[in-house]
């Protein structure tokens, strides 16, 4: 059974279409990055998966319909929908008590262990914590829950670089164990690409690319070449081209590495480069 399976997912707000027939499939034990420009429908897709919004189309999360079976689904699913959504009046120990009170899969000792590594005091109120500390607290609570699916929607927005880095490191080292599934969206593509196993590019409410990271590395190459080889390089039909000073960088999809190598330096493009290449080819605004 797939962890998430969406077919023809649609959602519109008035006349604006947020999801326009999105197809998506996430197997258990994967870490999927959902990547797309602003307004592409990422958050709407996640909200649909979490039973936070109604939708049209076929959607199963852990075998359940998230809208009609939301209460049951929330026993196995956890999410951070935004930064700093913890109630500002709450004390740290109250947050731990409360989650322990309502969640059967919450491990208090684990949460306290995570918190002990931070400078967060258990008597502090959330409003007294910095934005980064609130995120640490939220992550400590969420990671102590033995969930099958964790959904993170821009979990590190507005945090400084150090917090962002340690957020993903902690997630990978202390939480992910191959039986769980994680879905994450973020603008900072470079920061998450090393933790992902799968990626879906989403644009205007549709999935324009869905691949595992291995596939991506086997399929996309970036050629860095100088002016004299440019015509030959262009003949191989790159999907994207940019020039920095007198070097040209061309991205190819499905062209063999051996054919590119004589023309210059070949390397695996970053996720951000592939994203830009695919989006500009799809006619997306940059």
């Amino acid at each position: 059974m797939s962890c998430i399976e969406a077919r023809g997912l649609r959602k519109s707000y008035g006349s604006s279409v947020a999801l326009d027939g999105l197809d998506l499939r996430v197997e258990e034990g994967r870490i999927l990055g959902l990547i797309g420009p602003n307004g592409a429908g990422k958050s709407t897709a996640l909200n649909a998966m979490l039973g936070l919004t109604e939708y049209q189309g076929d959607l199963r999360v852990l075998g359940r319909n998230p809208w009609t079976e939301r209460d049951e689904l929330m026993r196995d699913v956890c999410f951070i929908a935004d930064v700093a959504v913890l109630p500002r009046w709450m004390r740290v120990h109250q947050a731990v008590d409360y989650v322990e009170g309502v969640h059967p899969r919450f491990d208090r000792a684990k949460a306290e262990g995570f918190l002990a590594r931070t400078t967060i005091k258990s008597t502090s109120r959330v409003r007294e914590l910095s934005k980064g500390m609130v995120t640490q607290l939220h992550l400590a609570l969420i990671m102590a829950i033995d969930a099958k699916l964790l959904v993170l929607d821009e979990p590190t927005l507005g945090l400084d670089l150090l917090f962002r880095k340690s957020f993903y490191d902690t997630l990978l080292n202390d939480y992910f164990d191959r039986s769980r599934t994680i879905v994450v969206t973020t603008h900072q593509v470079e920061e998450i690409q090393h933790i992902l196993t799968d990626v879906v590019f989403i644009d205007r409410g549709r999935a324009v690319l869905a691949a595992s990271m291995e596939d991506l590395e086997a399929r996309y190459f970036e050629l860095s070449t100088s002016a004299e080889n440019l015509a030959a390089a262009r003949a191989l039909r790159p999907i994207h081209e940019r020039t920095v000073f007198d070097r040209s960088f061309l991205i190819y999809e499905g062209v063999e590495r051996a054919r590119l190598a004589p023309l210059g330096e070949v390397r695996t493009p970053s996720l951000a480069d592939v994203f830009v290449a695919r989006m500009s080819r799809a006619g997306g605004q940059l």
């Binding site: 209460d71 929908a81 700093a84």
Partner: protein, 307 residues
């Protein structure tokens, strides 16, 4: 409180139930409401404290009044109940305002500070959340009110007795004229009827708090004030206004008279008719309306997003 943490580690994840029973979820939901809204008990406690300061000052006039009564002048005996009634009324008033402001922000505050996204990430259903929030004005506040009033009146009685003894007066003079027994029976009964009577009011406030983006007070009152004003302008009558005020403030009147017009002060048990009152259609229609309004609030919370 932390019982599960003390259980052996071996019983941890595998033995954990798929879901906790609703009583447990309800308990924690109400508890977190009380954490967030400390005014539920702080406001009536503050009122009680003010009342007690007043009593301390009145200890100078109390011996004089008791000596007059002991000498056969009963004209002042009615005043002896004054501090008890006054304290009760002040605490009731404070609690009433707390209930109003609580209900009007119940489903709005969580959208405004976006914490709804945190609450919804936990296995607590919208039904549970709305019911636990409704339980504050309809259950928790009346219970807290009764408890604080009882404690305050008891302190007043103890203090008055001490003053009496210090002044060498027989305390039975005081006790025979302070009939707390009747009040301590009537008050919980009155608050129970009042809570049932006002249930649709608070359910309406909670629904509006889940709908309004701002100024819930205005949205809650406008649908009633506007027709009342129009009615008065057009016909110089006040049926709408009367209907609303009766539902808002008439709970105690309902409790202590059959016709819903409590006019005479209650002086003995035979004046109340709990069975008649609690079986009146007005109460039950009100409860049905409250249930419908809360169901609408659940429907709304399901679909609402942060403001």
């Amino acid at each position: 409180m932390n019982a599960p943490a003390n259980e052996p580690a071996a019983a941890a994840p595998e033995a954990a139930p798929a879901a906790y029973p609703w009583r447990r979820l309800f308990y924690w939901s109400v508890r977190r409401e009380l954490w967030e809204n400390r005014s539920v008990y702080m406001a009536p406690l503050a009122m009680a404290a003010f009342g007690l300061i007043g009593i301390l000052l009145s200890s100078f006039t109390l011996p004089h009044a008791l000596r007059a009564i002991a000498a056969g002048d009963l004209s002042r005996s009615g005043h002896l109940m004054g501090p008890y009634s006054f304290a009760a009324a002040a605490i009731l008033l404070a609690s009433f305002f707390v209930a109003i402001f609580y209900s009007l922000s119940a489903l709005q505050g969580e959208r405004r500070d976006r914490s709804i996204l945190f609450w919804k990430s936990l296995p607590v259903s919208d039904v549970m959340t709305v019911l636990s929030k409704a339980a504050i004005p309809m259950g928790a506040i009346p219970v807290v009110t009764v408890a604080i009033i009882f404690a305050t009146q008891l302190l007043i009685l103890v203090w008055s007795t001490i003053v009496t003894l210090v002044n060498g007066i027989d305390p039975t003079v005081l006790w025979s004229h302070v009939d707390l027994g009747l009040m301590w029976f009537m008050l919980p009964y009155g608050l129970l009827v009042n809570a049932l009577w006002q249930a649709p009011v608070f359910a309406w406030f909670i629904l509006v708090s889940g709908w309004a983006k701002r100024m819930p007070m205005l949205w809650a009152l406008a649908p009633f004030v506007a027709p009342a004003v129009i009615e008065y302008g057009a016909f110089h009558t006040g049926h709408v206004g009367h209907f609303v005020m009766e539902r808002f403030l008439g709970g105690f009147g309902q409790a202590f008279s059959v016709e819903g017009e409590g006019t005479a002060p209650i002086s003995n048990f035979r004046q109340v008719h709990p069975i008649d009152t609690l079986s009146s259609p007005d109460i039950w229609v009100g409860l049905a309306v409250a249930a419908a309004l809360l169901a609408a609030a659940v429907w709304l919370r399901r679909r609402r997003e942060p403001i």
